[in-house]
Each structure stands twice: as structure tokens, then as C-alpha cells.
């Protein structure tokens, strides 16, 4: 499954690293139905640590469902999903352990409106990871610094702009020190001006070596940051490859049609 991955020129060291390490996410023949609707069909993917994978495809193609299966916000019915060596099944210990390793950022931000930005970020580290309050607060402030809005720490989500909310949401996910970050159309609900501030944070994150799975319609982001692009249609991975390959030499007619419509 790793064919088609080619590391960027500046990451030759990472490349050798990658060969040594096991894939951090393994999906084998994953199938999922919503009632009679077959959403995911035999999806098989492996993601290496520090890899940035961008998932694109027309709406309803199952790309969001796919990444939601990885932290079991959706349940797959067939096949195997193994994250960091733990299989996602009915075992609740695995589910909660895996969720602690995976950060997720949603299209609608989903900040907790009854908590301030800072409390949003410190909540999970203090009650799930049992960090002392002072430490959790310090980490939260560092993260807010990193996403560029330390001055908004004590505001509630209703007082923040969309871009600021999404950046707090990214900080909230990072506070759990995840190994993997999932992004489910993180910029689709934002004004054009705010898209950039969120994408900048994501680019910085990718450079820092985070393993990322990103569902997005931002082709510029895919071109610039992705190690690999997956193209979904009707629940199937139709085509995948490096951004250079994908945007220039895509073979499948469905991919060509999609690219011709959006580019």
C-alpha cells in the first residue's frame, strides 16, 4: 500500500525513519453501511508516522466517514482498523486509549460553549490525563501562543471569530499530546480570510512532524503540505499518490473529471 508515497526532497532523513517504523494506522478491507447504503467499500490504507495524508473527493463519497471511523465516532462493520498497534473493536479499553492518542478537529469547531478557550483546552488533560491544574494551564497557554491567540484565553467561544474558534479547537486537540491528528474539513465553515490563519497553523503542525489525516477541499494545501493524496468516490479509494502525481498525471477518469471541475 505504500507505493505512490514519495517523500519530499527535504525529508530524506524522515524517509529512512519511515522505513524503520511500523505504519501507525492500518485499515484492511474496511466496510461500512448506513442501513442499506454502502458508505465504505473495501478501504485499505496504511499511514506511516509523521505522514500527512490529504483525503479529497466529492461530497457523499465517504471521506468524512472514513476518518471518523479511525477514532470510532463511527463504527465499521467489516474489516480491521489498527491504530498504534491497538485494534478498534468493541473493547472499550482500546477505544478510549485510541481516542487519547488521536486528536480531532471538526468542520463546526465544536468548542464547548460553556467553557472559556483556556478551560476548553485544559478540560481533557486534567480529567482524562490527570495533569495538575497549573501544568495543564501552562501547556494550554503555550498552545494558544502556538496557534497565535494567547490574548483570547479567557473568552468564551461565542465571543471568538470562526477562525479563532477553529484555532482553539486545534489547540484543544493538541493538549492531549496526540500521535495522530484528524481534520474533518477544518476550513469549510470559515470566511476566506480566516481560512488562511487556520491553514497556517496546520502547515506549521505538519512541519513539526505530526501524523495528519486531513479531509479538505483546499487543493493548495494538499499540493503544498501533503505527502500523499487519497481520492474517494462512492466509498472507494479510486486513486492515490503524491500531490505531484495526483494533480498532474491522474489516470482514473473519475479523478480527472473531479479535478477538471475544481481546478
Amino acid at each position: 500500500m505504500l507505493e505512490g508515497i514519495s517523500a519530499k526532497a527535504d525529508s530524506a532523513v524522515e524517509d529512512t525513519l519511515r522505513e524503520d517504523t511500523e505504519p501507525i494506522i492500518i485499515c484492511r478491507e474496511v466496510n461500512k453501511w448506513f442501513g442499506d447504503f454502502h458508505v465504505l467499500r473495501d478501504v485499505s490504507v496504511e499511514v506511516a508516522p509523521r505522514e500527512v495524508v490529504v483525503v479529497i473527493g466529492p461530497s457523499g463519497s465517504g471521506k468524512s466517514t472514513f476518518i471518523r471511523c479511525i477514532n470510532r465516532l463511527e463504527e465499521h462493520q467489516e474489516g480491521q482498523i489498527i491504530v498504534d498497534g491497538m485494534e478498534l473493536g468493541h473493547d472499550i479499553r482500546n477505544i478510549s486509549a485510541i481516542r487519547q492518542e488521536i486528536g480531532m478537529v471538526f468542520q463546526q469547531f465544536n468548542l464547548f460553549p460553556h467553557l472559556t478557550a483556556l478551560q476548553n483546552i485544559t478540560l481533557a488533560p486534567s480529567i482524562v490525563r490527570h495533569r495538575p491544574r497549573a501544568e495543564a494551564k501552562e501547556i494550554a497557554m503555550q498552545l494558544l501562543e502556538r496557534v497565535g491567540i494567547p490574548e483570547q484565553a479567557n473568552k468564551y467561544s461565542g465571543q471568538l471569530s470562526g477562525g479563532q474558534q477553529q484555532r482553539v479547537a486545534i489547540a484543544r486537540a493538541l493538549a492531549m499530546e496526540p500521535k495522530i491528528m484528524l481534520f474533518d474539513e477544518p476550513t469549510s465553515a470559515l470566511d476566506p480570510e480566516m481560512i488562511k490563519e487556520v491553514l497556517d497553523v496546520m502547515k506549521e503542525l505538519a512541519r513539526s512532524g505530526m501524523t495528519m489525516l486531513v479531509v479538505t477541499h483546499e487543493m493548495g494545501f494538499a499540493r503544498e503540505v501533503a505527502d500523499r493524496v487519497l481520492f474517494f468516490d462512492h466509498g472507494r479509494i479510486v486513486e492515490q499518490g503524491t500531490p505531484e502525481y495526483f494533480f498532474e498525471q491522474a489516470q482514473h477518469p473519475r479523478t480527472k473529471l473531479f479535478l477538471s471541475q475544481i481546478l
Binding site: 462493520q77 464547548f112 481533557a124 495533569r131 501544568e135 486537540a173
Partner: protein, 600 residues
């Protein structure tokens, strides 16, 4: 045609009549135009208009009320009915069925009002608490994933909120209360059957909690959990049936053969059928490969659970007689009402309560201290359990310490008008001691006073609730609970799915999700309409008059009939309900402002 034109012509006619008038006015006012102009421009100011408009409206309103007030006062004066409060000191002359000891027919009207208000507050406070608890449960049941529970809750809500409250109160009073037995044949609780079951329910609950603890702590897989749940349920149901059957007809209801062995083979047969079903259904599910195959653990659990229960019972390993206990009846239910036992503080209550207060203080200290520890180290502590342990522990220690002092050896007993000093043991054995003497001499801080009757069936001790009170309370509680249930359901459903998903994605447990994410957000949606329901309940309590419960409004109508002071009577009633409602709103608003979200 002519008729259709008529209004038009009339309008034209009016205009023609007014034209010279306006021309005349314009002529008269023309010289004053320089003075009027600044005035007009002031009046054109939006701000001036706003204030002026309100002033004019207020003036009209005051004038209107003054007109009504003076007219009404004149009318009443002519009829000799001047509203005063002086009649409140007059003798009321009527008895009230539900009144404290200090009220009788010789008491004043003022006291009668107070009795009514006490009765209203009694039913409202109890009603609010019960309706909230019941509504909360039904509301959560409305969201249950279990189809049966959900449907029953839905039916409950739809039936109750779509029929008039008055009808429901009448049903409770005239149908339910009137069909209760006479006082001689009163239903008593706990009776044999209920004691029998309720004691076992404690056993089952303890087992259930142990099971729950086990699979939580060790993280058992969903399949095993389901198998355990269903197996345990089957065990309970079959054991209950067996026990009940044993109790009622002295034999196992589905006993095929005679004797134990026959029964055992029967269980084995049922289990075999169930196990066959398990594999059959499992295979069908595997073929379809759609749903998580939870049918297998479910049926497996049921098969094994009922086999276990049947075996235990067949071989006589479940000695049901051990759970039987003879108890004195504590509750009497009859057409004359409900009588509950009383818990009375004895002479030693104060010293025991000092221990409890110490426990509460200690609990408060533990709460704050462990809270700080958690903040510093991040480690969670069982704060709640430790606090409860502190209070309960000190209460038990206090109970023992306070009970150590000996009871007085002798008491004064009055027999045939003469006081006589008697050894306590003898007096108790004779049963001549009254409640007060018992409270004074008891070695325990609290005394449970069970209801006792005299020869005519009148209760000497115990708390009595009349059928009127119970019918009104049940009517109000059950009617309001259906609305509260809907409010609770709506509140929980109003929390966006995304919030729950975000919490899950961060690795919060189900409990943390509920207490940290869902409840705080649901409450802000629930509290305002909940306050409305509380107000409704308190005002609906005035329907008491229809079944003869002595609430404020009921007593006021009697007073108004006797004294003729209708204006004052209604005034007092309105002020009372208004203050009650304002008090409830004030409390709800205070709670609401704590949960309000900050935006912008």
C-alpha cells in the same frame, strides 16, 4: 350598485363638511405660526416623542383606573360593603378538615387564611419536588435506546399532557381515592408479599452493582458485558417467578414432572432450546454480516442465567424463606386517607445532631482539601464517597455514643388522675407510656413512631394525609411531570451532536461526557421552561377547591361567603399567589443566570 357606492359618498360628505372647519382653523392659527414652529420641531424629535408617548399612555391608564376605583368604591359604599381588613380579627366559626392544632372554629378569619396558605405551600412544595424527580426520570426514559421503555414513557407523556388537569384530579379523587377500602380493611404496607420482594430486590441490586463494578474495573468486552447483563436479568426474573410461585401455590409454575428432578430436566430442555436459538440466530447474523452480532451473547446470557436460577431453585439452594421477615405495618391506605409513620427527635437528638454537624464540617473540609490536592497533582480522589463516609461514619459513632448513657430507671405515670412513679421497664411492658414520655426516656436520638389506631379506627400517631390532599398532589405531580419530562428530553436533545463527538474524540468517559459537557449545556435550555412549569403547578393548586382540599383559595371563598368581604378576599388571594409566583421566579432566575452562556 347604489348600495355599494353609499360608503364612498358618506366619506366624501364628511370630507366636504370638514373642509371649511380646517380652513377656519388654519386661518386662526396662522398668526401664531412663529411660536408654534419651534414647538412642532421639538415634537418631531424622536426622543421627545418616545417619552411623551409613554407619559400620555401612563396618564390615560391612571385616569382609567381612578375612574374604575372611585366608581367601585362609591357603589360598594352605597351597599355598605367598604373593603377593610378589620374583619380579619372576627371569629371564623368554621372548622377546617386539614388544620394544625392551633386552629379551631373559634379562631379568627386571619388565622383561617394562614391555614389555607400553609396548606397551599405544603402541596406546592411537595408537588414541585416530586414532579421534578418524576419528570427527570420520564424525560430520560423518553431518550432510552430500549424501545419498550421509550414507548411507555412516550405514552405516559402523551396521555397526561393531552387531557385536562381538572379531569385528572377528578379521576384521582372520585375514581382512585373512592375505590380504596374502608378503614377497617385498610391496605397496609409493608404487607407480606411486598416485604418478600423488596428485600430480595436489595440483594439483586447489590449483585448487580458488584457485576457492574467488575466489568467497569477490568474493561470487559461488549459481548461479555451483554451476556452478563442478560444472564443476570434472566437469573433475577426466573428466581423471582420461582420464589413467587413457590410462595403462592407451593410449587414451580411450569413444573413438568413431579419432584425436583423433573423440574431440572425441564430447565435443561429450555436452556437447550435457547442455546440452539443462539447458534441459529448467530449464523443468520453472520450470513447477513451487517449488524454487530450481539444476539449471541444476549441469548447465551439468557440461557445460562435461567439455567443457573432453575438449578439453584430445583435443588433447594435458594432458601426463599430466609428472605421472609415479619414487619409491623408502617403505612395504612384507606378511603380515609394515607397514614405514614413519623420519625420523631427524642430528648437525645440534640447531642446526636452535634456529631452529625461535626461530620458535615469534616466532609466540607475533605471536599475543599481534596479539591486542592486534585488541582495540584492532577490525581482524582473519591471525594464524594469520602464525604458521605465522613457524615455517615460520625452519625453512626454519635448514635452509639449517645445511646451509651442509661435510660432513667423510673418514670411518672398518670393513672386515673393520679401521678405515680413507676419503674420504666414495667411502664413500657404495660404500654401506658404516651409519646412524650417515650421521647423523653428513649436512649436513641430518633424514634420511629408507627401509626396506631384507637378502637374506632382513628389514628392516634402517624402523619395523616387526607384523600383530598393525595388526589390533588397526585394530579398536580403527574400532570406536571409529563411536561417536565418533555422539557428534560428537549434540553438533552438540544445539545448538538458535535459537542458529544468532540468530547468523545478527546477521550472523555461516558460519565465525564454527561457531567462536564451534556448536563451544563442541557440545563441552560431546561431551566427557563422548567420555571414556567413550576409556576403552573403552584397556580394550578387552586383547583383544590373542586375536590374540597382546604387550600388558600378554597378557604377564602368560604370567608368571602360568610363575611361578604369579596374585594379584600380576592386582594389577599392575589397578593398571596403573586408573592408565591414571584418567589419561585426569583429562585429560578437566580439559577438561570448561573448557567447562562456568555456571547459577545
Amino acid at each position: 350598485m347604489i348600495q355599494r357606492e353609499a360608503p364612498f359618498r358618506i366619506r366624501q360628505g364628511i370630507a366636504a363638511l370638514l373642509r371649511p372647519l380646517s380652513a377656519f382653523l388654519a386661518g386662526v392659527l396662522r398668526p401664531f405660526l412663529p411660536i408654534l414652529r419651534p414647538l412642532i420641531s421639538v415634537l418631531a424629535d424622536e426622543r421627545v416623542r418616545r417619552i411623551l408617548g409613554q407619559l400620555i399612555f401612563a396618564a390615560i391608564l391612571i385616569f382609567f383606573f381612578w375612574l374604575i376605583g372611585t366608581t367601585a368604591a362609591n357603589e360598594l359604599e352605597q351597599k355598605g360593603l367598604v373593603p377593610t381588613f378589620r374583619f380579619l380579627n372576627l371569629r371564623s366559626g368554621f372548622e377546617i378538615s386539614e388544620s394544625p392544632g392551633w386552629y379551631s372554629g373559634d379562631s379568627s378569619y386571619g388565622r383561617a387564611f394562614v391555614v389555607g396558605m400553609i396548606n397551599t405551600v405544603r402541596v406546592v412544595v411537595l408537588g414541585l419536588v416530586l414532579a421534578s424527580v418524576l419528570g427527570l426520570f420520564v424525560g430520560v426514559f423518553l431518550l432510552s435506546s430500549n424501545w419498550l421503555i421509550r414507548s411507555i414513557a412516550r405514552g405516559y407523556v402523551e396521555l397526561l399532557r393531552n387531557t385536562p388537569l381538572l379531569v385528572q384530579i377528578f379521576v384521582w379523587y372520585f375514581v382512585v381515592m373512592f375505590s380504596l377500602p374502608r378503614i377497617q380493611d385498610a391496605i397496609t404496607l409493608p404487607n407480606e408479599g411486598i416485604t418478600f420482594i423488596s428485600l430480595r430486590i436489595v440483594l439483586w441490586l447489590v449483585l448487580w452493582l458488584v457485576l457492574g463494578r467488575y466489568w467497569r474495573a477490568w474493561g470487559v468486552s461488549v459481548e461479555r458485558r451483554v451476556a452478563l447483563q442478560y444472564g443476570f436479568t434472566a437469573l433475577v426474573v426466573v428466581s423471582e417467578l420461582a420464589a413467587y410461585g413457590h410462595h403462592e401455590i407451593d410449587g414451580w409454575p411450569w413444573a413438568w414432572g413431579a419432584g425436583l428432578s423433573g423440574e431440572f430436566w425441564g430447565y435443561l430442555f429450555v436452556s437447550a432450546v435457547l442455546l440452539a436459538l443462539v447458534w441459529g440466530v448467530y449464523n443468520v447474523e453472520t450470513v447477513r454480516q451487517r449488524m454487530a452480532p450481539l444476539w449471541r451473547p444476549r441469548l447465551l446470557g439468557i440461557a445460562l442465567g435461567q439455567l443457573l436460577a432453575g438449578t439453584l431453585f430445583s435443588f433447594g439452594w435458594l432458601p426463599m424463606a430466609a428472605f421472609r421477615l415479619e414487619l409491623q405495618p408502617a403505612v395504612y391506605i384507606s378511603i380515609r386517607g394515607f397514614v405514614f409513620p413519623e420519625i420523631l427527635p427524642t430528648a437525645r437528638f440534640a447531642s446526636w445532631f452535634a456529631f452529625v454537624a461535626l461530620g458535615i464540617l469534616l466532609a466540607g473540609f475533605i471536599w475543599v482539601w481534596l479539591g486542592r490536592r486534585t488541582e495540584d497533582t492532577g490525581q482524582p480522589y473519591p471525594r464524594g464517597s469520602l464525604c458521605i463516609a465522613a457524615v455517615v461514619g460520625l452519625a453512626i459513632i454519635g448514635w452509639v455514643v449517645v445511646g451509651m448513657a442509661d435510660a432513667p430507671s423510673h418514670v411518672v405515670v398518670e393513672s386515673q388522675g393520679e401521678a405515680e412513679i413507676m419503674p420504666l421497664v414495667e411502664a413500657k411492658a404495660e404500654g401506658t407510656l404516651g409519646t412524650e414520655a417515650l421521647l423523653l426516656t428513649s436512649t436513641r436520638p430518633l424514634m420511629l413512631q408507627l401509626p396506631t389506631q384507637n378502637r374506632f379506627g382513628r389514628f392516634l400517631t402517624g402523619v395523616e394525609f387526607t384523600p383530598e390532599f393525595m388526589a390533588l398532589l397526585l394530579g398536580l405531580v403527574i400532570y406536571t411531570s409529563s411536561f417536565i419530562a418533555e422539557i428534560v428530553r428537549a434540553g438533552i436533545q438540544a445539545v448538538p451532536r458535535g459537542q458529544i463527538e468532540a468530547g468523545r474524540a478527546l477521550g472523555l468517559s461516558q460519565t465525564q461526557l454527561l457531567t462536564r459537557i451534556i448536563f451544563p449545556q442541557a440545563l441552560r435550555v431546561i431551566i427557563p421552561p422548567l420555571g414556567n412549569q413550576y409556576l403552573n403547578l403552584s397556580k394550578n393548586s387552586s383547583l383544590a377547591i373542586t375536590i374540597g382540599y382546604a387550600d388558600t383559595f378554597n378557604i377564602t371563598t368560604t370567608i368571602m361567603n360568610q363575611s361578604g368581604q369579596t374585594v379584600t378576599g380576592f386582594f389577599i388571594v392575589m397578593v398571596f399567589y403573586l408573592s408565591l409566583s414571584l418567589l419561585i421566579s426569583a429562585i429560578m432566575n437566580a439559577i438561570n443566570s448561573r448557567f447562562r452562556l456568555v456571547t459577545r
